[in-house]
Structures are given as structure tokens and as C-alpha cells.
């Protein structure tokens, strides 16, 4: 039987506020255990939550960016359950009235097509603490520094049909929240993580299959692997005559398997009700307008501008706008490169991307600054260096040998453009290859390449190939 995969994602983005969502404790990562958990975060008796304005602003930015309706009235509710990393015995979240309503996001598929993914809602909530299990014998240690960190939980519709689509969607959200500067997107630190709801159904069937929820996946690679594993597991299970249980499963990256989390399953009755310590959040149009005015150019708008203004392909433009930093890098290259868009694009998406990838570096860590790359492109355009010379030049810049002109000088990459000098090379080559001259003259046009190649070899690659080409033709015809 042919199976169809159905995936919905719940993405948790930690909002980049300075203080926590309901307390004035710091959200900075990496402090000593429990040194950034104040009485409110620890759930001490009698202390009370007060909402952080910046968390509201950031959620609003997200809502406006996905074209969703941002609620004029949203309500915080308590989600009640016992867990050692949840100090109050309830998580303050939003249930019936979330701050962000229905929106959508366009993703690019590998075949170049686009697909729209529905976003059901996004709501504000507080993060829980962390449990440590290593080195404490029969006990676990609880660190509540993270408790109370603001989260935006972004819930998608079950619109994705493959692990690859899920990754594309997750990457798109990741890029968007970083564009908006509402989340640092640091997945190692857990600032951006997701739960995936996965089910399968026979192709053509309308009803969804029973879904399993894969918890807390914190890398794009793991999302893809975890979903594929889960899909395989479910199909195998059903084909063997079994049933998929609605349950929470944990992806274990080390063992590369998903397994049932029974401890979180039992008595799953969260008893949501409006938090009586907090009042409804009421926002007005003036607030939305003021937030709207601060929004940066969004990725899709930028992509279309790149296509239109720079005549780039949809593919090139979407790669360049996949992160705000990359897009800004590209535009800075353009300024220095006399708007040679196509060349700039090829270099940024080609050589630069490859080097960054090879050395596992972020665009912001590139040793080749955009102005340097831009100047090098000018040198290609004005004929100072050839394509091959440019590769050498880029390598030199990457290794810290200086800017384009310095590297060209140091590595002696300048093309020979002096006609007399080139003519001498051409004459030498013609004199040395009488047999080929005869054949060329007899009509074997493809030998032109041979002559050009020989000249380039003689000149150690520094002759301008276009000039060589012309000269050979002129001399032999």
C-alpha cells in the first residue's frame, strides 16, 4: 500500500527578552544553577506574576509578520500538572484566547515549487526548568534558571507531507524569528526547538491517522531523522496489523530511535483555567501600528525584491534571503561591487557558501568581509583577474592575506592585457605547432581551443582569454 505522511509542528521559540516573562530575573543562558531563578520563578508562596511588555511586543511582531490577526484581547491560562521542573505545579500559558490567531507561511520545496503552510495560532507561555540526571546517583537535580523564560509556541496546521517539508517549514520559521530579532535561534542552547505531530494514512484517505507527538527536537537534522524513523515505525506497525497509540515519544539522537515517554502520559488532564493572578491582555490598533512600523523587510518581500531589482532567479533569491545576515551580506557586497548582482550572487552562494559550510562557520564569522568580496568582483569585471585568478584571490582573502588588490599583488594574479606581450605568446605557439595550424586552416575549428589553451599555459594563466581568442583567430584566418 502507498502511505501518506501527515506532519504538524509545534515550534517553541524563546523570545529574546532581557528579563523573564513574569519576573525581573535575567534570561541569560549558561549561569550557575538556580542563580537566575527569583522567588516568582521558584513558585514561592504569595509571590505574583507581572507580564513583560517586550514579550507581548515580540509576539505581536510575529503575528503581523505572518499576516495573522493579533488578538485585541488574549488571556493567560494555567496548565496544571506536576513535574519537578515546573515549580508552581502549573505552567502559565494561553489556551482559549491566544495572542496570535490564524496565519500562514510560504515554504520553498526542493523542486523549486512553493507551498503554503497554515499556522493555527501562536501563544505566549513560560518555559520550565531543567532536570539533570548525571552524577547524582538515584536522584535528579533541578535547575530553574530557565523557568519563566518567555516562549512563543507556534502551532502549524497538519499541512506537511514529508520530513523534508517539515524541515523547510522549521527553517523558514527559524529565519523569520531571526529576521524579526525576537529569538536568537540558537538550537544548541534550546532557544528554538520543536515537537512534531506525526501520523500516516493510506494515500487518498481523508481522515487522519492516529498521531504520535515527538518531543523536544532541537536540530533540523534530528527533525528529519526523527520524523522519518517515526513514519517507518508507524507504517511497519500498521502493516503488521497493529495500531498506532496516541502518545508522546522522545527522539534519542544517540540511539537514533524514538521511544514512548510513559511518565508524561499518565493522567493527562491539564485542567486549564484562566490564571486569576493575571488580567486579560488588551491591545489596540495604535499599538499594532507602532509595532508594524518597526518591522524589518520580511524574507519573502526581500526575495521578490531581489528577483525584480537584481534579476536573480527565484532559487538564488530565496537562498540569499534565507537569513537576514546573509541577505545583508549580499547587499553589502553589491554596494562594493558596482551592482554586479549575478556575479555577486554566484560568489556568495557558490565559493563563499562552500567555504563557510566546509569550516562550519556562520556568515557573520566569514574572514572575507562583504567589501572585500565586492572589490574582488570589480577586479574580475575590469579584467584585472581571470576567473581562475579570482578563485586564488578568494582563497588568499579567506586565509587573511589581505584585501583583493593585496592578494592579487602578493600572489601575482594580474592578467596580462598588454597586446604585444600576448601577441608574442600567440606567435610562439603558432610557430611551435605547424601541424595543428595546417589542420585548423583546413577547417578543424575546434582546434581553436587547443591554441588558446597553449597560450594560456605559456602565460601561466595570466593572459586574458578573450584577447587570446581574438588574436588566434585573427592570425590564422
Amino acid at each position: 500500500m502507498e502511505w501518506e505522511t501527515v506532519i504538524g509542528l509545534e515550534i517553541h521559540a524563546q523570545l529574546a527578552t532581557k528579563s523573564k516573562i513574569f519576573s525581573a530575573a535575567s534570561t541569560a543562558y549558561g549561569a550557575m544553577p538556580n542563580t537566575q531563578a527569583c522567588a516568582v520563578d521558584l513558585g514561592f508562596p504569595g509571590v505574583l506574576p507581572v507580564l513583560n511588555s517586550e514579550a507581548v511586543t515580540m509576539a505581536t511582531k510575529f503575528g503581523l509578520a505572518i499576516g495573522a490577526e493579533v488578538s485585541k484581547r488574549s488571556v493567560f491560562a494555567r496548565k496544571n500538572y506536576f513535574y519537578p521542573d515546573l515549580p508552581k505545579g502549573y505552567q502559565i500559558s494561553q489556551f482559549e484566547l491566544p495572542i496570535v490567531g490564524i496565519g500562514e507561511l510560504e515554504i520553498e520545496l526542493e523542486n523549486g515549487e512553493t507551498k503554503t503552510i497554515g499556522i493555527t495560532r501562536a501563544h505566549l507561555e513560560e518555559d520550565a526548568g531543567k532536570s539533570m540526571h548525571e552524577g547524582l546517583g538515584n536522584e535528579s537535580g533541578i535547575d530553574l534558571n530557565r523557568a519563566g523564560t518567555p516562549l512563543l509556541e507556534i502551532v502549524s496546521e497538519p499541512d506537511m507531507r514529508s520530513a523534508k517539508e517539515a524541515v523547510a517549514y522549521m527553517k523558514k520559521i527559524h529565519s523569520l524569528v531571526r529576521y524579526l530579532e525576537i529569538c536568537d535561534g540558537n538550537m544548541q542552547e534550546g532557544s528554538f526547538r520543536c515537537d512534531a505531530n506525526v501520523s500516516v494514512r493510506p494515500k487518498g484517505q481523508k481522515e487522519y491517522g492516529t498521531r504520535a507527538e515527538l518531543k523536544n527536537i532541537n536540530s533540523f537534522r534530528f527533525v528529519e531523522r526523527a520524523i522519518n524513523l517515526e513514519v517507518e515505525r508507524q507504517i511497519e506497525l500498521i502493516e503488521d496489523g497493529g495500531h498506532v497509540a496516541q502518545e508522546t515519544r522522545l527522539y534519542d539522537a544517540d540511539k537514533n530511535e524514538t521511544r514512548s515517554m510513559r511518565s508524561k502520559e499518565e493522567a493527562n488532564d491539564y485542567r486549564y483555567f484562566p490564571d486569576p493572578d493575571l488580567l486579560p491582555v488588551e491591545l489596540d490598533q495604535a499599538f499594532f501600528d507602532s509595532v508594524k512600523a518597526t518591522l524589518p523587510e520580511l524574507p519573502d518581500v526581500k526575495k521578490h525584491r531581489f528577483m525584480k531589482s537584481f534579476k536573480l532567479s527565484a532559487y538564488d533569491a530565496s537562498v540569499l534571503t534565507s537569513s537576514r545576515e546573509l541577505a545583508e551580506y549580499f547587499e553589502a557586497v553589491l554596494v562594493a561591487a558596482d551592482n554586479e548582482a549575478k556575479l555577486a550572487c554566484n560568489w556568495v552562494n557558490g565559493e563563499l557558501a562552500a567555504m563557510l559550510n566546509k569550516e562550519n562557520k556562520d556568515i557573520s564569522e566569514s574572514p572575507v568581509k562583504p567589501e572585500m568580496l565586492g572589490k574582488m568582483i570589480v577586479r574580475i569585471k575590469d579584467g584585472t583577474i581571470s576567473g581562475k585568478g579570482a578563485k586564488d584571490c578568494f582563497e588568499g582573502m579567506w586565509l587573511g592575506e589581505g584585501d583583493a588588490d593585496e592578494v592579487i599583488k602578493k600572489r601575482d594574479l594580474k592578467q596580462v592585457q598588454d597586446s604585444a606581450a600576448i601577441e608574442k605568446f600567440v606567435d610562439d605557439v603558432i610557430a611551435a605547432n605547424p601541424k595543428q595550424v595546417e589542420q585548423f586552416k583546413a577547417g578543424q575549428d575546434k582546434l581553436l581551443g587547443f591554441f588558446v589553451g597553449q597560450v594560456m599555459k605559456e602565460s601561466k594563466g595570466k593572459a586574458n582569454p578573450a584577447q587570446v581568442n581574438q588574436l588566434v583567430k585573427d592570425k590564422l584566418k
Partner: protein, 483 residues
């Protein structure tokens, strides 16, 4: 000395007729002598009190003045006090000393008031008789076989017995007004949002409100003045100027329109109590007030609504007591569940468990709409009744409690009967209105209270209406024998 009012104490301190240290020592001696019978204090803070008194004397000596400067008070053990145990009447918090002060505690410290100790109360403020305290029942000074009311029974008993001139309290369903009535003193619960709940251990967040006990309206006004006000740390605190609660005390009551809700003078009300209340209302007519019968048609539903809303909120509020970060932890838990079940099972008393279970049930899947949502809807109807009534009248009066104090043990096995003793006070909390109870007479030598309900932010008017009564009568000056 113990019969002095706050204003009298304040004057005497300023004139150096006695020092705060002398006054404080006098009250500490009285506590030492009498509290073994009453059990109104959980913790007596002798040393700290004398230290604070000394500091107050110093401030007075430097010319500082303030109505509460150097004045002793008793603090309900629900308000967090840095460095002094805050138990909330529970075994769960028997070992708990908050590393911070409640806003109310901070304000009283700033005013230079002297804390004599922390008063006994029903466990987590859940009770109407003070019998649910982990520290044992509080006795009513009028007759120690009787309950003082609850949950702020320790505070009420202490003030009635002159073990403190004033005391703090909290009121979620009548926990200031009912014990004030049963102990023959004056108590006021202000409008919801008037007194910060920060550091006041939560029972039911949307109903809890701090307030004051004193022997007179005049003194109650002084204490309320000190603890009222906007607090950034409490999202439900109201950013609204606090008027001078004493400014209008002397205003004559001529033309005052008093509403008497017919539902509050119906079946279930003790006939003798009704007589006392009617006599008090006659007195108001003598003072120039006009009495109008009104109807609060949904008020009969207050108790049912309250016993959904309050337990629901409390079931969640009390989830934080899990034996992990503070408070009672069971011995040698074998696993995580064992830690939770036993710590909570041992730490909470029966009434608290009952309410947690009712609340858990009311919020659980499949019952939310029928219980919680329905209760919230009727809560609005109850509140709307008051809004309607206050279009016609200035204040509403009723008995505070359907009977005078009952015997210790009389109702403790029957929660529902116990709950019905708050039948006249609960609606006020559901609506968030200010309410007061003042002594109005006696039935079988036990005090009876008159409840006065005001419209939002009408505390000054309530205090004025109470004060005028106290100028014309001397019920509030009666004191229990032997104190």
C-alpha cells in the same frame, strides 16, 4: 493601656507618656498571660517586637510622627515576614521562613508599626471556625468553648481580648467579617485590588483581599490606610489614589440610603440575631438614614458558586507545595510520585484536601463547563445584582453571620453546614466589593455583627457609616470578661 485607641496611643507616644517599648512589653505580657487559653498566636516575636519598638521610639524622639509609629499590631500568619516563620496555619509550611516580606508587611514596617507576632488561622485560610489550623483551634474570648470564627480567627480573638490593639486579616469569603462579628470587634475587607496580594499566601486569587481588625471603625481606618495602595508586583492591584479613610468619619448620615436585601433576612437566619440586627438598623434610622428593601435575587447561589470558584483556584494555587524547594517533605521518598503524594498527603489537613479535590474535580475534563464556567457565569449575575442595587442605595446592610458563635467541634464534621455560616459574606467577595462588620449587640452573651457592604472603592463611606453608629452606641466598647 490596652483600652487605648490607636489615636490615643499615638498621642501618648508623641507626648512621651509612655514609650513604644513600654507599650509593646505591656502587650507581650498580656499575650504571655492570656494566650495559653486563646491560642490566637502561632508565633510571638518578643525580641523582634521590642527591637522594632525601640527603633520606633528612636524615630519618635527624632521628631517623626505617624499614626502607626510605635503602635503594636498582630499579623495574620498568611503574610510573609522575612526572617519570621510564615506557616499559613499548615504543617506544610511549619518550617517555612520566607526570604521576603509581603507588601503589607513592608508597608507596616515603613509606618513603624510593631509586630507582636503571627496569628493563628484556618489552614491556608480555609475555614470558618479556626478549627482547621495545624496549630489547634483558637478560642473565642467571650466564651472559650466557642469558636472565634475564621479564617482570621487568631487576629480577631487577639484584638477582642486586648492582646493587640489592631490586627491584619484576609478575607476570601468572609474571613475578616465573620470572625469580627463572632468576636465582637470591627473588621473591614476593602474592595478587591485595594490591598496588594504580593507576599500574602494565596488561597483563591480572585477573591483574596487583605484588610484590618480593630475595636473601632476609627482604628480600623488607620490600619487600612497604612496597608492600602497600588503595588506594581501585583497585577490585580489597582492603580488608583487611596483617599484619606478618616476624613469622612464625622460626616452625618442624614439622607443615607440603606438597602436591606430581603434574601438576607430569610430562612436560616437565627431569630435572635435578626432582632439584634433590626435594632441596629433602627438606630441608623434615628441617625437620619432611610431604609429601603432591595433584592439580590442571585445571592442564594453565592455559596454554591463560591465552592466551585474558590476550590478551583486553590487546587491550582496549592500545587506549588510539593516538597521540592521549601516546606514539608516526606521522609525518604522512594520515587518522585512518593515524594509528591506523601509530602502533600502529610503536609495538608483534611479541609485543605477536601477543597483541593473539589477544585480538581471541577476543573477536570468533562466537568469544566458544568462547574467552573457555570460558576463564573453566575458570579457575574451575582455581581450584577449589586450593581443594580447600588443604583438605589448607598450601602447595604445585613447580618454578618446567620448565628452567633457556635461551639468548637459543633460543625467540624459537616463541611456543608460549616460553609453555610458564610452565606451573607461570600457574595461580597465574588463581586469584589468592600464589606465591613461591626458589633451590634449580643445573643446569649455572644456578640453579633452587622455587615455593611459598600460599592467599589467605597471604603471611606463604610468607615463613616460604621463610625457614626459607634458614636451613638457602645456595643464596640463591650469587652469579654477577664481581659
Amino acid at each position: 493601656m490596652q483600652d487605648f485607641s490607636i489615636v490615643e496611643i499615638s498621642k501618648a507616644l508623641a507626648k512621651k507618656e509612655f514609650s513604644s517599648v513600654e507599650l509593646t512589653q505591656h502587650y507581650l505580657d498580656r499575650i504571655n498571660t492570656h494566650d495559653s487559653q486563646l491560642n490566637s498566636f502561632i508565633t510571638v516575636t518578643d525580641e523582634l517586637a521590642l527591637e522594632q519598638a525601640k527603633a520606633a521610639d528612636e524615630r519618635i524622639r527624632k521628631g517623626e510622627s505617624g499614626v502607626l509609629l510605635g503602635v503594636p499590631y498582630a499579623h495574620k500568619d498568611i503574610f510573609c515576614t522575612s526572617g519570621v516563620k510564615t506557616s499559613c496555619g499548615s504543617r506544610m509550611l511549619d518550617n517555612f521562613t520566607a526570604p521576603y516580606n509581603a507588601n503589607v508587611t513592608d508597608l507596616l514596617n515603613q509606618a513603624g508599626a510593631v509586630m507582636l507576632g503571627k496569628t493563628n488561622m484556618d489552614e491556608f485560610a480555609m475555614g470558618s471556625s479556626n478549627e482547621t489550623s495545624f496549630y489547634g483551634s483558637v478560642k473565642n474570648p467571650w466564651d472559650t468553648a466557642y469558636v472565634p470564627g475564621g479564617s482570621s480567627g487568631g487576629s480577631a480573638s487577639a484584638v477582642a481580648a486586648r492582646l493587640a490593639p489592631i490586627a491584619t486579616g484576609t478575607d476570601t469569603g468572609g474571613s475578616i467579617r465573620q470572625p469580627a462579628a463572632l468576636c465582637g470587634i470591627t473588621g473591614i475587607k476593602p474592595s478587591y485590588g485595594r490591598v496588594s496580594r504580593y507576599g500574602m499566601i494565596a488561597f483563591a486569587s480572585s477573591l483574596d483581599q487583605g484588610g484590618s481588625f480593630a475595636r473601632s471603625s476609627e482604628d480600623a481606618a488607620q490600619l487600612l490606610q497604612a496597608i492600602a495602595g497600588f503595588d506594581l508586583r501585583d497585577s490585580t492591584s489597582i492603580d488608583r489614589p487611596v483617599p484619606n479613610f478618616s476624613a469622612d468619619l464625622d460626616k452625618p448620615l442624614k439622607g443615607l440610603k440603606i438597602g436591606l436585601p430581603k434574601e438576607y433576612f430569610a430562612e436560616g437566619l437565627d431569630a435572635e440575631v435578626e432582632k439584634v440586627v433590626q435594632t441596629a438598623i433602627k438606630e441608623y434610622e434615628n441617625l437620619g438614614a432611610k431604609v429601603i428593601e432591595i433584592s439580590l435575587p442571585n445571592s442564594k447561589l453565592s455559596v454554591p458558586v463560591y465552592y466551585v470558584v474558590a476550590p478551583a483556584e486553590c487546587s491550582s494555587n496549592l500545587s506549588r507545595y510539593d516538597g521540592v524547594r521549601y516546606g514539608h517533605r516526606c521522609k525518604d521518598p522512594v520515587n518522585l510520585d512518593d515524594l509528591y503524594f506523601r509530602s502533600r498527603g502529610e503536609g495538608f489537613g483534611k479541609e485543605v484536601k477536601r477543597r483541593i479535590m473539589i477544585g480538581t474535580y471541577a476543573l477536570s475534563a468533562g466537568y469544566y463547563d458544568a462547574y467552573y464556567l457555570k460558576a463564573q457565569q453566575i458570579r457575574r449575575l451575582i455581581s450584577d445584582d449589586f450593581t443594580q442595587a447600588f443604583k438605589e442605595v448607598d450601602v447595604i446592610m445585613s447580618p454578618t453571620s446567620p448565628s452567633a458563635a457556635f461551639k468548637i467541634g459543633e460543625k467540624s464534621d459537616d463541611p456543608v453546614t460549616m460553609y453555610l455560616s458564610d452565606i451573607y459574606t461570600i457574595a461580597v467577595n465574588l463581586a469584589g466589593l468592600p464589606g465591613m462588620s461591626i458589633p451590634a449587640g449580643f445573643v446569649n452573651s455572644l456578640p453579633v455583627g452587622l455587615q455593611i457592604i459598600g460599592s467599589y472603592w467605597g471604603e471611606a463611606q463604610l468607615l463613616n457609616v460604621a463610625h457614626q453608629f459607634q458614636q451613638a452606641t457602645d456595643w464596640h466598647k463591650q469587652k469579654p470578661k477577664g481581659y
